[in-house]
């Protein structure tokens, strides 16, 4: 026992003399290597009481220099809050010329998130199996640090009758989940939860996809080419490949090819999947072939439409030195006077050279032309009158 005491005494003496020898050796007394964000961190160094020794300290965002306080013959460096509140590795270096001492410690996030930054995008996606949106969640602790890796985040969603939830884990500071589109259109609601913290509600619009091919129909008051009534074209209900009615306002263009091969166009936008467009009847016999397109996306069948001639013949009366020309009565399919607005064209020419063309529209079944003597001096003129694609020619008509 005495022997042991001697040994202890010897050890004590030796230890203190060793301390005396290495009085200027500065040692880090703080052993903790890992701190939670927000915790007070004080680095303590023993072996000196020189308060002029400063500490360089840097974290993810910046660096600074700290002055010590001397307590219990040790240097205490209290790490400032901007360093203790952010996660990541902090490195420090003692700014002493004789002792170069440096090290690092790690700051980890608090376990409990208090904010969940959530990003959903794109905000609308198309129904079907191609499109998806993405939910990105950054759960952060009270000091705005992303929480630790592999924390579970629950992604919840509701769509029509379906409610589901999945668990994803944080990685690379975030958690994310792809949300694939259902086959039906509608609104999907999303929410997330992380360790009891719930997010607000997010909405994703599931829009119908692009339309598939469709049919067109025609509706008209009669089949006569009276240049007055209106033919309406409608589509069948436009649907995408999953039978969702396409979004209102989808633009449908109707292309009409007439007997001469010329194109006429009219267009309409869908309401509840049906687009309607209109076109005035031709004023002479025609065969139209009609096809509709949602440009670059889908097309309809082709339908053909005949219009019957209404005016078979008309009378032309000359009076007042042949300078007044009356065309009419212009009669429609029931011998009624044709509704106002039928176009009549008069071309005046002399010796094969067209001098003037007059276009007038019928009124009460008649059209009157006056040939002004100041323009057409006395002489022989060739006159041509056209309406409803019927032409009547009067050669060498004498005006005086």
């Amino acid at each position: 026992m005495i022997k042991l005491n001697y040994i202890l005494l010897y050890l004590f003496v030796f230890a203190s003399s060793a301390n005396g020898l290495r009085a200027e050796t500065i040692r880090l007394e703080t052993t903790q290597q890992e701190f939670t964000a927000g915790e007070t961190i004080v680095l303590t160094f023993s072996g000196t009481q020189d308060a002029s020794i400063k500490l360089y300290c840097a974290n993810s965002y910046g660096a600074t220099i700290i002055r010590p306080k001397i307590e219990n013959a040790q240097l205490h460096y209290r790490i400032p809050t901007q360093l203790t509140s952010k996660i990541g590795v902090v490195n420090w270096e003692l700014l002493d010329k004789t002792n170069s001492l440096s090290g690092t410690f790690n700051i980890i996030p608090q376990t409990q998130p208090i904010a969940m930054e959530t990003y959903v995008g794109p905000p609308s996606i198309e129904a079907g199996d191609r499109d998806y949106t993405m939910l990105v969640i950054i759960p952060a602790d009270a000091l705005d640090n992303p929480i630790k890796y592999n924390t579970e985040v629950t992604v919840k969603r509701q769509f029509l009758a379906e409610e589901a939830q999945e668990i994803v884990q944080t990685k690379n500071l975030i958690a994310y989940q792809r949300i694939y589109a259902p086959t039906q259109s509608g609104r999907m609601l999303l929410a997330t939860e992380c360790l009891g913290l719930n997010s607000k509600e997010f909405t994703v619009n599931i829009t119908p996809a692009i339309s598939t091919d469709f049919e067109i129909f025609v509706k008209r008051p009669h089949e006569y080419a009276d240049g007055n009534q209106i033919t309406a074209f409608t589509t069948s209900v436009l649907r995408d490949e999953n039978k969702n009615i396409v979004s209102d306002g989808s633009y449908v263009e109707f292309v009409i090819t007439n007997s001469d091969g010329n194109l006429l166009k009219t267009a309409g936008m869908t309401i509840d999947g049906v687009a309607t467009a209109k076109m005035i009847h031709p004023d002479h016999a025609e065969t139209w072939s009609i096809k509709a397109y949602v440009k670059g996306i889908s097309e309809s069948n082709t339908i053909s439409l005949n219009y019957k001639q209404v005016i078979e013949d008309f009378t032309v009366t000359f009076s007042k030195n042949n300078r007044t020309i009356e065309v009419g009565p212009l009669q429609s399919f029931m011998k009624q006077l044709i509704p106002d607005g039928l176009q009549v064209t008069l071309t005046v020419s002399q010796r094969g050279k067209a001098l003037e063309t007059y276009i007038k529209e019928s009124r009460d079944g008649f059209v009157n032309f006056e040939l002004n003597p100041n323009i057409f001096s006395n002489g022989n003129y060739d006159l041509e009158i056209t309406t409803a694609s019927i032409t009547k020619a009067f050669k060498a008509k004498k005006l005086w």
């Binding site: 993810s60 660096a63 600074t64 794109p122 950054i138």
Partner: protein, 504 residues
């Protein structure tokens, strides 16, 4: 008399009238102009942000794909640009303790972290001069809507000088790994979270090559007509080839040439300039001459935030010629010790140190040196260099003493006298200061020491020049005129008396 008074009165009235009217017109037009200025539509978007290259650390992108949406090159370029700008504005903020630009590159919550540091450092009178030299970024995740990325940035080498109370308290190089979340806001990729995951201090070890004997005998070379503007518009390879013949026939084996930093295009080195340098080096190779290529001629900034630009410059030049047989050595900088006073010895040495490491990391074949302007500074950074080189313009009689002083400070490295010479000018501005004869005597005396000590040397210079650019020795005639007469050939190519003491 009365008439004259009246005329004076009249003209006074007319002039007053003209003056008042012109003042009125001026005022109205100023008001009109003022009312027409104001919110410029083009400034609503950030379209007018000008791209100035001010920060170009080495970017080694890791292209290993990413989670989420595939990344296109245009977005990647934009991310790189904004991410580097974020680093740049942060360096500027800590250097000046002002927060200009921070709000453009950090989101509102992330900004706070930087502002905290800035205000504390301001209070404590701390500022930090820092730059990053290389990054190894890697996109980990790109969100489907293209608004968020997670970026991993590894092996970020950051050099820092920390000052407190105007005094340098720490110089450190750290290598760190970061993870960052960036959000696309207002057309900027802004840092939302930045987490440093790893950090270590790095001490760069530069490997040097052991050189037995260099045995250089040569001259510093500029063409006669274009001193200090060798690669300019008047570049003529035929003249240079001809000069190389003269040098070779004189029994010399080495030339020292200069690559001007700005003239070569700073960070974006111009291809034409590189081609001219290539022609010169090719010609030297044909004539069996070795070249010491001095980089960064006329560079004198050394500002830490400017380092990345100079590094890109050196990288381009050295990469292009790293396998060229004509090159003997890269001379990092001509007489950098002359900038110690104006730019800070600390900065200059740190810049040189990093530049040596960069050049050596690219080119493992050629030697590296620095052309110190005197014997007092020539021992600096010797551990990093393959041979020591210094310049000597003092009296020939003092050379032995100064050389042995230097030699005592150098351990185990060959020493090269990179520049020496004397002007033969003895005209109006410095009467009797020099003459061809004195110059010849100087070279004779020097030559005696050089050959007895077996010192490699490069004389200044081949030709007498007619015009000295003002950025060389200023524009005062008593300085420029002597500078014109350092040649061993006169301006017409005739041998001066000194010529025979240079040739073998």
């Amino acid at each position: 008399m009365v008439k004259a008074d009246k005329n004076i009165m009249r003209s006074f009235l007319v002039l007053t009238y003209i003056f008042v009217i012109s003042m009125l017109i001026f005022l109205i037009s100023s008001a009109f102009t003022y009312l027409n200025t104001g919110a410029d539509r083009s400034k609503m978007l950030h379209t007018e942000v000008q791209k100035i290259e001010q920060y170009l650390p080495k970017m080694n992108w890791i292209d290993d794909g990413n989670e989420g949406r595939p990344l296109d090159t245009q977005t990647l370029a934009k991310i790189e640009n904004d991410y580097l700008d974020a680093w740049y504005v942060r360096h500027v903020a800590y250097q000046s303790n002002k927060t200009n630009g921070i709000e453009d590159y950090y989101t509102e919550s992330a900004r706070k972290n930087i502002l905290d540091f800035v205000s504390q450092n301001q209070q404590e009178n701390i500022f930090i001069d820092a730059t990053t030299l290389s990054h190894q970024p890697n996109i980990e995740f790109f969100s489907e809507d293209g608004q968020l990325i997670v970026l991993k940035d590894e092996n970020v080498v950051e050099y820092k000088q920390v000052y407190q109370g105007g005094e340098l308290v720490l110089e450190t190089t750290e290598k760190a790994s970061y993870k960052a979340i960036l959000l696309l806001e207002d057309g900027f990729w802004r840092i939302r979270h930045l987490v440093r995951e790893k950090v270590e201090n790095i001490e760069e070890t530069t490997k040097t090559k052991t050189v037995d004997s260099l045995n250089l005998k040569g001259v510093n070379y500029y063409p006669q007509a274009t001193p200090w503007d060798m690669f300019g518009d008047k570049f003529d390879i035929e003249i240079i080839k001809n000069d190389f013949d003269i040098i070779k026939n004189a029994g010399l084996n080495t030339i020292r040439i200069f690559v001007p930093y700005e003239d070569f295009g700073k960070a974006n080195v111009q291809v034409e300039k590189l081609e001219k340098l290539q022609q010169v080096l090719d010609a030297a190779e044909v004539k069996k001459l070795k070249a010491v290529v001095t980089l960064f001629d006329f560079y004198g900034d050394y500002k830490i935030l400017d380092w990345t630009l100079t590094q890109r410059h050196a990288e381009t030049v050295v990469t292009k010629f790293k396998n060229h047989n004509a090159i003997l050595a890269w001379d990092i900088k001509n007489e950098p010790n002359l900038d110690f006073e104006s730019r800070g010895k600390q900065n200059v040495l740190a810049w040189l140190d990093k530049m040596i490491s960069l050049v050596k990391s690219i080119d493992e074949t050629h030697l590296v040196t620095i052309g110190w302007s005197n014997t007092e500074s020539a021992h600096l950074l010797q551990d990093k260099l393959d041979f020591v080189s210094f310049h000597y313009y003092d009296a020939a009689a003092d050379f032995t003493q100064q050389y042995s002083n230097l030699k005592s400070k150098i351990t185990n490295k060959p020493i090269v006298l990179g520049e020496f010479g004397q002007s033969s000018y003895g005209g109006f501005w410095r009467p009797f200061a020099g003459s061809e004869k004195k110059q010849a005597t100087y070279f004779e005396e020097m030559q005696a020491v050089l050959s007895s000590e077996n010192i490699s040397y490069l004389a200044w210079t081949l030709y007498d020049f007619e015009d000295i650019p003002s950025n060389v020795v200023g524009s005062r005639p008593w300085r420029t005129n002597p500078q014109k007469k350092f040649g061993i050939l006169d301006k017409d190519g005739n041998r001066k008396l000194a010529f025979e003491f240079i040739v073998e």
